[in-house]
């Protein structure tokens, strides 16, 4: 065998030469071209290789968050105080919930520019029906969330029926539903929610007791370990490779730390906000829906290649319809939570930068604008980044001019990382 004359690269191989050893390998590790990785060091090596190829996942946003927190902590030692971090969780929730919907539409390679207006409209409908009309709380909540759902179905139907780009449909929605919000609010344009209503209490004063918070951490870690071990058992039974117990153990310890340390810090002040726990639950549920259900697999497929998805028999229209509906519904829920936390509904509910914060959060969190790539966790992480900037600058008494510019810079960096990593993935065959 001579060296290739055409200069083509011979792939670096870590070959398994011994056929006896090959027979003993699990079904998914028998190919000799696979680079073998064993144990903890192998897992770390595989992780770094993945990063180098441009499959960054949520690493950039976590690094960014650490840098932002470090900078603000140096500038103002109150930034990482328990009190301020509790405020941060409260501020993050509504943006995070709205961004969750944006993540879904971005996975399809579409966009919803109207989430701010929809959240404002939902808040307005809630305020008017609950305060002015005196509807029962549950009915008002249901009505305002249902409005979000109907708007999303309307977008989906328009998209499916006429093929109008979602960019334009939702741009019209941005204007139209802002107008509807102002019309619903009427002349005075501002409503205060009663302080003693359950939803306001939930958004402003409801915190988990330390015992419950730590209990949740323990239950979550236990469920994680159980599901990993179960998956491991199933994979081994099916003759496939499985992560060794040491890796599962390490990951469980890491998860426990990631959950317990913030709980400990937050318990230094009021504690873990119930509203923030609601956001976390929604993120986990959405992540599950994306990764583990047929619907989520279909969403990823449509985002990757619509034509392939259609030919595979996926009901593409239903996917578009459901995703637009879910996005607007999340926006409506986010609007409700924002209004409840501010104890008021007015003409600027859902206005200002709500829209762009939510979209920026999803993108900063690592969900690709190009479709088919992203995770529900990017909504949470991105919202934390955005609200950390806003919170930190407010702490430094810098006004919104600086905040807008800093947020813009972070967004630009995030989108650039997305584009660069996409190019790198293509070069490394991971696009």
């Amino acid at each position: 065998m001579t060296t290739p004359v055409d200069g083509s690269k011979v792939p670096v191989q870590d070959t398994v030469e011994d056929p006896a050893q090959e027979a003993a390998l699990p079904a998914d590790l028998q190919d000799e071209r696979l680079i073998a990785s064993h144990g903890v060091s192998g897992a770390i090596a595989a992780f770094t290789a993945r990063l180098r190829s441009g499959d960054l996942g949520s690493v950039p946003v976590v690094v960014g968050l650490v840098i932002i927190w470090a900078v603000f902590q140096i500038a103002n030692s109150n930034f990482l105080s328990s009190r301020n971090l509790v405020n941060l969780t409260l501020q993050t929730t509504s943006v995070g919930v709205i961004a969750l919907g944006i993540v879904l539409v971005l996975l399809l390679g579409e966009i919803d520019l109207s989430v701010g207006s929809v959240s404002g409209l939902s808040a307005a409908i809630f305020g008017v029906t609950f305060v002015n009309k005196g509807w029962p709380l549950a009915v008002s909540i249901l009505a305002s969330v249902a409005v979000g759902l109907v708007i999303g179905l309307f977008y989906g139907a328009l998209y499916n029926r006429f093929g109008v780009p979602s960019f334009v449909i939702t741009l019209a929605g941005l204007l139209g539903f802002l107008g509807l919000q102002l019309w619903v609010l009427g002349k005075e344009g501002s409503l205060n929610l009663p302080f003693d209503s359950a939803i306001v209490k939930f958004a402003t004063q409801s915190f988990l007791s330390p015992a419950v918070a730590y209990g949740l951490v323990v239950v979550t870690v236990a469920l994680y370990i159980a599901s990993r071990l179960r998956a491991r058992g199933q994979r081994l039974a099916a003759g496939l490779s499985a992560a060794p117990n040491s890796i599962i153990g390490l990951k469980a310890v890491a998860l426990a730390l990631v959950l317990a340390v913030p709980v400990a810090v937050l318990n230094g002040d009021r504690g873990v906000s119930s509203m923030f726990v609601l956001l976390l639950a929604m993120v986990v549920a959405t992540d599950f829906a994306i990764r583990k259900t047929r619907w989520g697999r279909s969403v990823m497929a449509v985002g990757g290649n619509v034509e392939a998805a259609r030919r595979a028999g996926i009901n593409v229209r239903m996917i578009y319809l459901s995703v637009f509906a879910a996005c607007s519904t999340f926006a409506a829920v986010g609007g409700l939570l924002a209004a409840s936390r501010l104890v008021a509904v007015n003409q600027s509910s859902g206005g200002n930068d709500t829209n762009l914060n939510a979209i920026a959060a999803a993108v900063i969190g690592g969900t690709s604008l190009f479709g088919g790539r992203g995770s529900a966790y990017s909504a949470l992480l991105g919202a934390l980044v955005i609200m950390s900037i806003s919170n930190g600058l407010a702490l430094l008494s810098l006004d919104s001019s600086v905040r807008f510019m800093v947020t813009a810079a972070v967004l630009l960096i995030a989108v650039t990382i997305d584009s660069l990593s996409r190019r790198s993935r293509q070069a490394h065959g991971r696009a």
């Binding site: 190919d31 583990k292 047929r294 996926i314």
Partner: protein
Amino acid sequence: MTVTPTSPPLTGTVLALRGVSKRFGAVQALKNIDLDVRAGEVLALVGDNGAGKSTLVKTIAGVYTADDGTMVFDGREVRVASPAEAQQLGIATVFQDLALCDNLDVVANLYLGRELRRGRVLDEVEMERSSWELLRQLSAKIPSVRIPVASLSGGQRQTVAIARSLLGQPKVVMLDEPTAALGVAQTAEVLNLVERLRERGLAVILISHNMADVMAVADRVAVLRLGRNNGVFMVSETKTQDIIAAITGATDNAVSERAARRTREEGSAS
């Protein structure tokens, strides 16, 4: 590359077309096409550009409906109104553009649209296990089924697309130009795969422009010319020359003229 074609086992016809016609406006794309496909046989469908190959394939696959004629599948006369119906009957088609989702891994692509589930949750383990089983049966050279399809070579992507068509337990597999745009080694890989489909007792319809591939792997060659049947040849008893003559419609065509001229020149040179 000389592969002696095994004579097709005469286990009966799976798919038979009789008098199939298709018009597009004023154009008669297919006229009175008869075609028989047997189980355990590779039938190559050849013809010049515009001969009606693609139209015929799409008619069988349910993308188009024939204006005239009958289609008998597995002994029953059937009408195929949509690609989904064709798939349900057991006619799988791998179109030229493969239609894979680059962002999803091999398992996800194989089971796209028919994911296995435990309750409401995807059964990744079972899907991965049976993916390996299927790929091993096809002796497919895919290093890992957990890598995105984007990182596979052209031949591997073709393999994934063909493997996916087999998951529906089809009786007939139609491959549209499976070796177009593939390198030498990858072409051989795909041709091996076609032979393995035949060994599994499937009826394979292979559309190709490449006569070398056709002669290497097909048992019979059906020639279309200007939307009509222009002969069916047993590969073992036919020369490439005759098939090309049937494709171009005459013995005194540009291709055979060139060949004849070269033979003459070589003869005079020696």
